[in-house]
Amino acid sequence: MINSESHITVHDLTMAYGSFVVQRNLTFTINRGDIFIIMGGSGCGKSTLMRHMIGLQKPAAGEIIIDKLNFWNAEVRERETMMRNFGILYQSGALWSSMTLAENISLPLEEYTDLSSNDIKEIISLKLALVGLSGFEDYYPSEISGGMQKRAGLARAMALDPEILFFDEPSAGLDPISAKLLDDLILELRDSLGATVVIVTHELASIFAIGNNSVFLDPDTKTMIAVGDPNKLLAESDNPKVQNFLTRGKIHYEQTS
C-alpha cells in the first residue's frame, strides 16, 4: 500500500429515492491511493452510491467525509470547492456533444484556472496524448468511436489533475483489449498522480487486476455484505453471495470451507 491515510469515509449512509430505500447502513473507508471498487449485482445501487459521493444526490441519512470535511453538511460553495478535486468518468463518457474534444477539456480549465489560452492548448494536447488520442482535438464526440469517447472522457476527468477519480462502469461496452488498456491506464494514473480511484464495476477481470479495496452491495438485504481487498475476499470470505459473485457462480465457497 502507498500509505494508509484515510481519504474518503462513508459513515452509516442510507440512500433512498423518496420512501424507497436503495441501500442502508453503508460504512467504509477509502485510503489515499486506493483503487476502490464498488461492486454488486445489477440494480443494487452501485451507481447511486457513486452519485452520492460526487455530489449529485443527497443522502437520506449518514455522512460522507472527504479529507476530514463533511461533504454534504458543507455549504454549497465549500462543496463545490471539494468537487473541484474530483475527476469523473461517466458510463457513457458524457462528453458535451456540442463541443469538440479540445473544448470539452478546456471548459473546466477555463472555469477554474487563470491559464493563458496557449497553456490551456498545451494541457489539452498533453491530456489527449495520455489517453492515446493525440491529434483528435477538433473532433466532435459523435465523430469518434465509443471506446475513444470513453478515453476522451477520461482526459476531461483528468483536466484539473484531480485527487479523486471516479469511474462509472469504465469497461462497459469496451472490447476486452480496450478494457485492459483502460485498466492499465487507471493503474498508471494512480501511481503517477497519486490519485485515489473509485470504480463502479462488475467486470471481474478488472476487479481482481486493479482493485485493492472494495465494498460489496447486496440488493436483497439492501446493505453492504463485504468490504476489503477483492482478492482477499475471494480467498477468505465465507459469504455465499460474495463467493458466487466473485467466482461467476461456481460456488467456490463449498470447496474451501
Binding site: S92, A94, W96, M99
Partner: protein, 377 residues
C-alpha cells in the same frame, strides 16, 4: 403415422394413467387444449400419477412446453404427480429450466383500477408539484440572470451565437411564408364582408392593425414554440439522457447558466425582430389582395395602413413578442431539464414543450389584451 397431435389415455393400474403423445406437437398444429385433457384425466377417477410416452412425437416446439406447464400446474393443484421421465430429453431440460427460478413474489405487476376520487387526488397533488417545479425553475433562471448582470454567470459565446442564428435567421423563411399567408387570408375574409358596403379600403386598416398589434407576434410566437422550443427541449433532454448535465454539475457549472440563459436571451433578442418581419409580411399579404384584386391604389393602401396603425399598436406587438420569447424559451428549457432518462422521454419533452409554449402564448395574449383594454391603450 399422421402429423396430427394425438393423445391416448391408458390406465396402467388404480392410480397410474399413461398418456401417449404422437404427431407433430408444434404451435401451428392445433395442440389440444389443456383443459380438455384435464377433464379427460378427471373422468378416470382416483388418478394419482401421470406418465408419458412420447416416442411417436416427431417434432415439437414451445407449444408442447406451454401445454405441459399448464398440465403440470393443474396436476400440482389436484395432488397428482406428473412423471416427466417419458418426455423427450430436451423437453425435460427446458421444463426444469423454466421451473428453476421460482416466480419472485410481488414481481408481477398488479393492475388495479384506481378509484376516481383517488385519481382526482393524485392529479391535484401532481398539479401542485409541477407548479412548484415551474416556479422553482423561474426562480433559478432569475437568479442566474442576476448573476449574469453582475458578470458572474457564464456561457460560451459560440453556443450563444449558434442559438441566435438558429432562432433568428434560420426561422425567417417559415415565419415569412406563414405570416404572408395569414395576411392574405385575413384580407380575403374581410374583403367579402367589406365589399358589401363598398368599404374595401378598410382592409388596409384591418390587416394592418390585426397583424401588427396581435397576429404578427402571436404567429411568430407559435411558430417558434413549434420550432425552437421543441428543439431546445430535445437538445437539453438528450444531454440529460447522456449524463452531460450531470457532467456540467460535477464540473461546477450551473446548467441553468450554461444552457438555459443563452437560449432565453437569444430568443428574447430575436423574437421582436421576427415579429417586425412577421408584421411586414402580413401587411404585404393584405396589400397583395387589396391592390391586386380589389383595385385599391398602391399609395392609397399605404397611406391608409400608416394612418390607422399607430405607434401604440406597433409597440404593443413588440412588447408581446418579447414576452412570448421568454415564455417559449423557458417552456423548451424547462421541459428539457425535466426530461427522464430514456429515448421516449426526449420525445415527450419535445411534445410537452410545444404544448406548454402554445398554451402560455395564448394565455399571455389574453392577459395582455385585457390589460390594454383596461388601461385604454
Amino acid at each position: 403415422m399422421t402429423n396430427q397431435c394425438e393423445i391416448k389415455f391408458t390406465k396402467l393400474d388404480k392410480e397410474k394413467l399413461l398418456l401417449t403423445l404422437s404427431g407433430n406437437w408444434k404451435l401451428d398444429n392445433n395442440i389440444p387444449d389443456a383443459s380438455v385433457i384435464e377433464e379427460k384425466i378427471l373422468s378416470f377417477s382416483g388418478i394419482g400419477y401421470l406418465e408419458f410416452i412420447t416416442t411417436d412425437v416427431a417434432e415439437w416446439d414451445s407449444g408442447i412446453l406451454t401445454f405441459l406447464i399448464k398440465i403440470n400446474e393443474w396436476c400440482s393443484k389436484n395432488n397428482i404427480k406428473m412423471e416427466t421421465g417419458g418426455l423427450p430429453q430436451g423437453v425435460q431440460r427446458l421444463l426444469a429450466l423454466a421451473s428453476a427460478v421460482a416466480e419472485r413474489e410481488g414481481a408481477r405487476r398488479q393492475f388495479v383500477r384506481e378509484p376516481i376520487l383517488s385519481q382526482i387526488g393524485s392529479g391535484t397533488i401532481n398539479f401542485v408539484h409541477s407548479t412548484i417545479e415551474i416556479l422553482n425553475f423561474f426562480g433559478e433562471v432569475s437568479v442566474a440572470f442576476m448573476r449574469l448582470l453582475r458578470g458572474k454567470a457564464r456561457f460560451r459565446r459560440a453556443d450563444f451565437l449558434l442559438i441566435l442564428q438558429d432562432c433568428g435567421i434560420n426561422a425567417l423563411p417559415i415565419v415569412s411564408l406563414i405570416c404572408l399567408l395569414v395576411g392574405l387570408i385575413l384580407a380575403f375574409i374581410a374583403a367579402i364582408q367589406l365589399m358589401m358596403f363598398g368599404a374595401q379600403i378598410y382592409i388596409a386598416s384591418l390587416v394592418g392593425i390585426g397583424m401588427i398589434r396581435v397576429l404578427g407576434a402571436v404567429m411568430a410566437g407559435i411558430i417558434m414554440a413549434g420550432r425552437t422550443s421543441a428543439s431546445f427541449a430535445a437538445q437539453i433532454g438528450t444531454m440529460e439522457v447522456n449524463e452531460e448535465i450531470d457532467a456540467l454539475k460535477t464540473t461546477g457549472i450551473s446548467p441553468i447558466e450554461f444552457l438555459v440563459l443563452p437560449r432565453v436571451i437569444a430568443l428574447v433578442l430575436m423574437m421582436p425582430l421576427l415579429c417586425i418581419f412577421a408584421d411586414l409580411m402580413g401587411v404585404l399579404g393584405g396589400f397583395i389582395v387589396g391592390v391586386g384584386m380589389l383595385d385599391i391604389g398602391i399609395t392609397e393602401y399605404y397611406n391608409m395602413t400608416v394612418d390607422s396603425v399607430g405607434i401604440n399598436n406597433f409597440l404593443i406587438g413588440i412588447f408581446q413578442s418579447c414576452v412570448f420569447g421568454v415564455l417559449v424559451a423557458l417552456a423548451g428549457c424547462l421541459r428539457g431539464m425535466q426530461c427522464k432518462r430514456s429515448a421516449s422521454a426526449v420525445g415527450d419533452a419535445a411534445t410537452s414543450a410545444v404544448v406548454t409554449g402554445i398554451i402560455s402564448i395564448v394565455i399571455a395574449t389574453a392577459i395582455i389584451t385585457i390589460l390594454c383594454n383596461v388601461l385604454g391603450i
